[in-house]
Every structure is written in C-alpha cells, then in structure tokens.
C-alpha cells in the first residue's frame, strides 16, 4: 500500500533527522530500532558527561504536518512508561552499565515544502 509505505518513509526520515540532531548535540548513537516482544526503542545513544556515561533512550515521533497537533503531543505517558521498561530490557541484553540513564523525546515535523523542524526534549520520563 502506497500510503503505508509513505508513512514508513516519513518515520525513517524522521529518525534519521533525530539521529543527526542527537549527534549534533554531542551524543553517540549506539543502536536504532531495537525490537523485542514488548516493543521498540527508536534510538539508543550515549552521552559522556562529567559524572560518567549516560545512556539516552529516545522516542521519536514524526508527522508530516501540524493538522493533528504537534508530534510531541502524541508521546503519551503510556509510551514513556513502556520506554522505561524497554530501557531495562535493552541494558540487560547488552550487559551495558552506565552511571545514569535518561529518556528523551524528539518530535519531527516534515511539512511538505518546508524545512523539517526537529524538537528535542531532554529527560521526559
């Protein structure tokens, strides 16, 4: 189906832009679209800080316009709760240790004919 395909493409483009944004902010992307039976983590990144390594689990929401509201408004409490559980699963599977973890959200608006806008919100969960 063409429409679904295009939706998927929007999602992928959005995640590309989100990764670029995280890297621009000095983070290192470790993994994208990690899946397990509970769900999916869009981006896992690492940020080196003064107190040590911070693992950043990032939820990306991308929309092609503001007609249905800003993409960040679609990131609900339930989604962030799932992301928290997924973060624990990811760490167990990868046996990664970090001094802290953080949940971020990124909203991407890909309005046709306009510059994409990327909004990054730190520490939402």
């Amino acid at each position: 189906m063409a429409a679904t395909e295009s939706k998927k493409q929007i999602g992928i483009r959005g995640e590309d832009l989100a990764c670029a944004e995280l890297e621009r902010l000095g983070m290192q992307v470790l993994e994208r679209n990690w899946r397990c039976r509970l769900g999916e983590i869009d981006i896992v990144a690492a940020e080196a800080g003064r107190t040590g390594l911070t693992l950043v689990f990032c939820e990306v929401k991308c929309r092609s316009g503001l007609g249905f509201g800003h993409p960040l408004e679609a990131i609900t409490y339930a989604k962030m709760r799932t992301l928290r559980q997924l973060a624990a699963l990811w760490m167990r599977e990868h046996r990664r240790k970090a001094s802290s973890i953080r949940l971020d959200a990124i909203g991407v608006v890909l309005a046709p004919g306009q510059e994409p806008s990327v909004t990054h919100v730190r520490g939402v969960g």
Binding site: H70, L72, E73, T119, V121, R122, G123
Partner: protein, 519 residues
Amino acid sequence: MASACARSVALVGLEGRIVEVEADIGAGLPRTVLVGLPDSALYQARDRCKAAVSNSGQEWPISLLTINLSPATLPKAGSHYDVAIVAAILAAQRVFPVDELRRTVLLGELGLDGRLRPVRGILPATLAAQQTGFTRVIVPLRQAGEAELVEGIEVFGVGSITQLVAFLRGVPMPDVEPIDVVGEPADRHANRRLDLADVVGQVEAKWACEVAAAGRHHMLFHGPPGVGKTMLAERVPGLLPDLDVHDALEVSAVHSLAGFNLADQLITRPPYSDPHHSASVASIVGGGQRMAKPGAISCAHKGVLFLDEAPEFQPAVLEALRTPLESGMITLGRSEVHARFPARFQLILAANPCPCGQAATPGGHCQCPPVVVRRYAEKISGPIRDRIDINQAFLPLRKAYLKAALQRAEPSAVVAERVLQARDRQRRRLAGSGWQTNGEVSGSYLRRHLPLPDGLQVVDEAVDRGRLSARGVDKVLRLAWTIADLAAHDVPGRDELAIALAMRRGEQPGAVRLEAVGP
C-alpha cells in the same frame, strides 16, 4: 525558560482579592498544568483557553506549560480567570511586552472562538482592583459600562483575544462582534409603575406601609385572601427614597454578583425581592458549594424582601432569617472560606389566618378546626414574630368603606414625599451614630442617647402584664419615633407610643390613630 504574570480577582462574598496568574513555559513534553486550588469550572479553563488561543491565530506553547494561581491557598472558582491566563501565556511567549500587564487586572471568560464572554461580579471585582491600587482593568466589551461605574480606574473593554493582543501591542484593534450580556435586568422592579392609589380602601394598612417605609420597619400582613396584602407589599418599594451613592454601589455590586445585568448603570431605587414559598434555604440566604452566591435576602439589601404566604415557606427558610434580620449581614461558612454578604433588608410577611383564610374575619365562615388554625399560625415562629415591628390586620372591604376610601386614595408620590421628610429628620437626628433609620438603631442608643418619650407607663404596663418582650419595648420605641417623624414632632409623646404599641401588637388602633395623626 520563559514566564509572565497577569492579575485577576477572586471574589469571596463581596470582597475581592487579587489573584496572580503566573504562566511558565518550561522544558518537558507538551502538557498544560493548572495549579493553585482551581474548582472544576476553572480547571476546564485549560481546554477553553487552548482552543481560544489557537483560534485567535496565536500559538499555544508546545512544551510543559505550568499555570499557577496564587495565593495558592485561596480556593478559586469560576470562569473569569480565562483572560488573565491567556494574557500570562501570551506574555510569556513575548507576544506583547510583559510590562503591559503591570498594574492591570483582567476579567472575563473565553469562548472557543477566542471572544470574551461576560461574567458575573464585574462591579465588585473592579471595585477590589481599584481599592488595591490597580490603575487599569480589562473587561469583556459589553461590560465596560458596568466596570466604569467604579471611579478612579481606567476601564478597557475588549471583544476578543485578537483585540486584546492588538491593544496591548499598541496597534489598532480589529473589529469583532462582541458577545452580549445575558441575565435579568437588575432594575426589573423599578420600572413597574405601581401606585398606592391603585389599592382600594385599606387606609390603615396603607398608613402602616407609610410608617414602615419611613423607618424601615418589618411588617406582617395578615388577613383573608383577596384584600390587597400582596398589592400593598409590592407598592412599598415605591414609597422608599432613592439610594445614596454608597448604598447604590453596594446594592449594584450584590446584583452584579448574583448574575443580574446592570445595563451600565447603578441601581438607584431600593430593590424588591419576592421569592416564591417553595424557595430553598440556599436560594434565600445565599449558597453554593465552594463559592457562595448571594441569595434573595442579599438581593433585597437596602430594599424590601416580601415573603407572600409566609406560613407555606419551609420552617428552616423562615428561621434562617433570624440572624440577618438582626445583623443586616449574612456569613456563609464553606470548607475553606467564609463569604459575607450584606443583607439589611426590610421584611414584609403576608399570611392568611388559616388554610381556608376566613378565620377571625368578621362575616367569614371558617371551615378549619381550631387546632389547624393554631398550627397554621405557629408556622411563623415566635422569634420571627418578635422581630416584626408592625402587625397589620387586613379586613374585608365593605361597600360604605370602599366609597369613603376612594376619596382619599393618595398617590405614591405624595406619600413618598412625607416618607422622605421623615427620613431627613431621622438622618439629622442619627448623624454620627452610623445608622440612618429608626428601624436599624440599637435599643441601647434609643434609650441612652435619645430623649425618652413622655407617657412611657403605657409601655411599662404592657411589659408588666407580659404582653411585650424586652425586644418589643425597643421595637415600640422605634415605631413611636417614626410616627413622630412623620408627624414632624420632635419627640414622640403619649399618643405616638399608644399607636406604636397597638401597631406592634396588631390591634386595631382605629379612631385613636386617625384622630391623632390622620392620613
């Protein structure tokens, strides 16, 4: 990130307190939080404001938006904070300079289309803003006239958020169709041209009304149906003089709070309130869950409260009148605040003598058993009866009486003039005491600061025989003063006392009065 503050007013009773509405745009997922003890109507302001802002071509911040109403301990109710909330949010986004909101109070509810809706209580809220030292108030366009009744504060009426933004930016305002004020006009009774001359006969009762109007005395009318009790009671407000500026402002403020439409002018005529006998206690004394609204007694402040068919009222309703009758004030306690409303009303009760209405009426054939008649009379309890100054019996009209009465039917204007003269005498005598009429003066002031009338033995005798209570003595004294004022006597004498005593006890003073004072 960014924050700004706008001001509105919380009304507790007639007192207004300034509420600071702070908006903070901070980091976090888009969410709007409203804190500071809002009630449910106010909590919904979130959704109203959001729609109104987006429909006005402005942006609702896409981040964590915290709106705080402080002082946080004061419970806030109602929808009139909408405009202040939106102004704070827009100022936080620097849509207009933050400084524009200093010394300004904003009042009004928002429609989803971004237009301002009228709210109740604009007058008392503006008064509070002016007294707290604010120099400017912004209100819904159609209520600017009401706010302008308060002197010493700049009033701006705006019709919509678009107009508000343009105004605060200092650019020309676009045209908007404003939302009209709904609500019953506050002067609904003043325009009814009711004249005393319309009432046939009942010369004595008319005279009792004149005395009551002159001294602000409470009255009880009793008599068979169809003799003119209601007609006369409706005509009492027409005998009262205009309210002075202070009273007019207070009365108008109460009516504004009760949701009446002031139509841009102060209420200058004494109000009249005649609740039906099915009324609840809350509707009479005022009520409401967290924030109390004034009831019928406050809407009759400085005017007349007429309870027709008084025995049909729930006993609790009548008993609730006891304290306000004495104090001229009603305090409604709620979980977090106490609301006080003025309630210095003049009470007129009307009652039939029994369910069929014919008991104790010459020529009437009462069908009710004695116990029923007694029960009916008992519905107006002793304490309430004791607070009544004038007990006026109405007799059925006879043909000869009607003929005679027709000739002396006086128009209200003539009687009102005499009442005005009597009020002037009272005001001069009571200057500096804090009271204006005989009906309000305290008993101790009557006995200590005013000359005692001659012939007090008439009253003493009644007390000795147990026919008059201590409160009754004061009531009789007050009445006697009013009768003297009407007759332009400096001090009441034996005659005035005798008449006052008879009026208080509900006897027919008959010839004594007519000879002594004469209508």
